[in-house]
């Protein structure tokens, strides 16, 4: 076991744990963001540099600070390590720079992107980025490519996290796509136009942190925050498929099926293509109940009652403010006595 201090919080984790996973044990706002690291995928991480942290003391034996910021997702902890994440201004500044770098060639087409609302890059930029850009040049663009019957590749949005490459390598029988080209001309591709259609390939949609790989059966059907996630399962004949899924409802219709994601957006149980693309009737599934969605997520926005304001407070407000509230109510007003505008 190794004891480390992360942002002033002590935590004890087994040897060989990465700094990021130690921080996730603490949880909450100290956890560094991760755009490319994906716990179930071996070899992932270290690429996006979003999770860079400062190691103020290397270990109890050698308490010198590390000369550069390190990627917390791949750096193992040492006993006595002192790590600074949100407590280091340097880390916060660098992270702002990483957002900028990731966004300069991103199309920022969130209004028409299916991933909006559950996009890691969107959340990352919202939390750590700035609202303006210093980039004036032309952005890199690619043509949309249909890769197979289920998946569309929108390379312009890709941040080259390599997650889908690792998924195809480790979860499916054969990988037919990879990264071609280098530098900012690098792209996900199949070289000779190949279809991504083997059994577990649908999982690349779930692991994609942005809207580069989207589900063709769901494209442009609905904004995710208007749909309602429900956990369900079925007996799947495929031996590797867990059959544990989240169904995304709009009214009575199942618009899409995804694997279940944990609080860090990671899929722990892979599902097969049949469960994901073919079973879109409630009758196919055993419903378990509403899926947990983080309160801060935009997907939660329509699923909760608006906060209620005490009428006593309203009585104390100046009349002009009350009139303004009447015309443009940001909150639902009401109370036990049934006062309501």
């Amino acid at each position: 076991m190794a004891k480390i201090t992360f942002d002033g919080i002590e935590v004890e984790v087994p040897d060989g744990t990465t700094i990021l996973n130690a921080a996730r044990k603490i949880g909450g706002s100290v956890v560094p963001p991760a755009m490319c690291y994906y716990t179930p995928l071996k070899g992932s991480g270290g690429k996006c540099r979003a999770c860079l942290v400062r190691v103020a003391a290397g270990s109890a034996k050698d308490p010198r600070p590390m000369p550069k910021l390190v990627a917390s997702c791949i750096t193992p902890v040492q006993d006595g390590m002192v790590v600074e994440n949100t407590t280091s201004q340097q880390v916060l500044d660098v992270r702002k720079g990483i957002v900028e770098m990731l966004l300069i060639n991103h199309p920022l087409d969130c209004p028409v992107c299916d991933q909006a609302g559950e996009c890691d890059l969107q959340n990352f930029a919202f939390e750590h980025g700035v609202s303006t850009t210093r980039y004036e040049e032309e952005r890199r663009t690619f043509e949309k490519i249909d890769i197979g019957p289920y998946i569309q590749l929108h390379m312009t949005r890709c941040i080259l996290c390599y997650r889908c490459v690792y998924t195809a390598n480790q979860v499916t029988d054969a990988r037919v796509h990879g990264v071609l080209g280098r530098g900012d001309a690098a792209e996900i591709g199949t070289y000779i136009e190949n279809a991504l259609d083997n059994d577990f390939i649908g999982n690349v949609i779930d692991v994609c942190p942005v809207g580069a790989l989207t589900d063709k059966t769901f494209r442009f059907k609905q904004r995710v925050w208007f749909t309602k996630p429900v956990n369900a399962h079925r007996e799947c004949s495929h031996e590797k498929c867990s059959g544990h899924v989240t169904l995304w409802y709009k009214g009575k219709d199942v618009l899409r099926v995804t694997a279940r994601k944990d609080e860090y957006g990671e899929v722990k149980e892979w599902i097969c293509n049949e469960c994901r693309f073919e079973k879109k009737e409630t009758a196919d599934w055993v419903i378990e109940g509403p899926a947990h969605i983080d309160r801060s997520s935009v997907i939660s926005a329509n699923h909760y009652e608006l906060p209620v304001i005490n009428p006593q407070v309203i009585a104390d407000l100046p009349e002009s403010t009350v009139r303004e509230l009447e015309q443009n109510p940001p909150l639902k007003l009401g109370g036990p006595s049934g006062t309501s505008f």
Partner: protein, 445 residues
Amino acid sequence: MGRKLLTEHVNVEGIETFAVYRKHGGYRAVEKALKMTPEEVVEEVKKSGLRGRGGAGFPTGMKWSFLAKPEGVPRYLVCNADESEPGTFKDRYLMSKLPHLLIEGMIAGSYALGARTSYIYIRGELLYVLRILEKAIAEAYAAGFLGENIQGSGYSLDLHVHPGGGAYICGEETALLESLEGKRGNPRNKPPFPAVQGLYARPTVVNNVESIAAVVPILNMGGDEYAKIGVGRSTGTKLFSACGHLNKPGIYELELGVPVEEFIYSDEYCGGIWKGRELKAVVAGGSSVPILPKELILKTAAGEPRLMTYESLSDGGFVTGTMLGSGGFIAMDETTCIVKNTWNFSRFYHHESCGQCSPCREGTGWLEKVLHRLEHGHGSMHDIDLIVSVAKQIEGNTICPLGEAAAWPVAAAVRHFRDEFEWHVTHPKEATQPGAVYRGNLVMA
């Protein structure tokens, strides 16, 4: 003229053949090494104070002693011959003229590290050098210096040459190993370091061509004797590939410690700046090290004469110093436009970035685009600060040192030649005339 340890016999007719090389004292180092224990060979290299000749200047003996040696697991020595830094061409020269010197160094090095199979990873463009090396290796096999039971010592070694696909990034040691394994040449995350998990996840040492070649004179003359050459911690001799606006560009083997001024102006070496012009700036160690203006390359900030050593060139840090790097010495005369030159360098890094980690993939392209704008008279003052800021965002935040290599030259050019960048902004018409150069920052002799 100082002593020459590597290139002493370089002009001998037929030195690339085994027979002639052997006649001039070749393979004595191997014979000597095979009589020593591997530990003694490592100790000898440690004593010599030899520092890596590929750019970073890490002590070679120390690198060798870091190699993990688990029982029953093969170890590898890999020679990094993927020399592709703009301004550096020493390894190509060494390999094409003296292939047996490298092979001899590889045998001695592999013996010291206990490697039974070793590789020379050569840049794909150097196909003719590859042919020379393969011919030399075949000769060495025939003479019993490679293969089973070398010279009856019981030690066996196989040596392979592997050509790369011509990517600069494959000169980074972990990207080189990936490429050698047949994968895409992306640098690996560290740790684990190659000394623990390198080629095929086995302990591996990756050394530059010149470092490995330098093992031969070290063994021949003894580590202590080798350490006496040079100044302080910069021991021995080093090849410098001088290029640019010099009267006599070319490869020079120097005892470390020659003053920079002597190297540029003495007739023994580069013979001064061509066409009787003034020196404007020097990039002392290949395109990735910071550029220095004339007054800082000849003398340190403290007014001491600058010497061709690791320490002296980096005196003053990056504020007033640079690095020895790989020894690619690029001299620029008064007609050189620093903005154009910086743009050219960053175009190279943009092209060669592997695209794996985001600061380098996006940042190198951004730098190039803004520098292109500045060079072509469309820039603003704000752009000058922008490139400094972008360079800072790349530096230190990437997986491998290519990020720094792309950021340093840009930051240094603005640091030392800011007025020239500003002139491009304030005088766009003049600046875009063919051959137009800002001369306000020249130091006249």
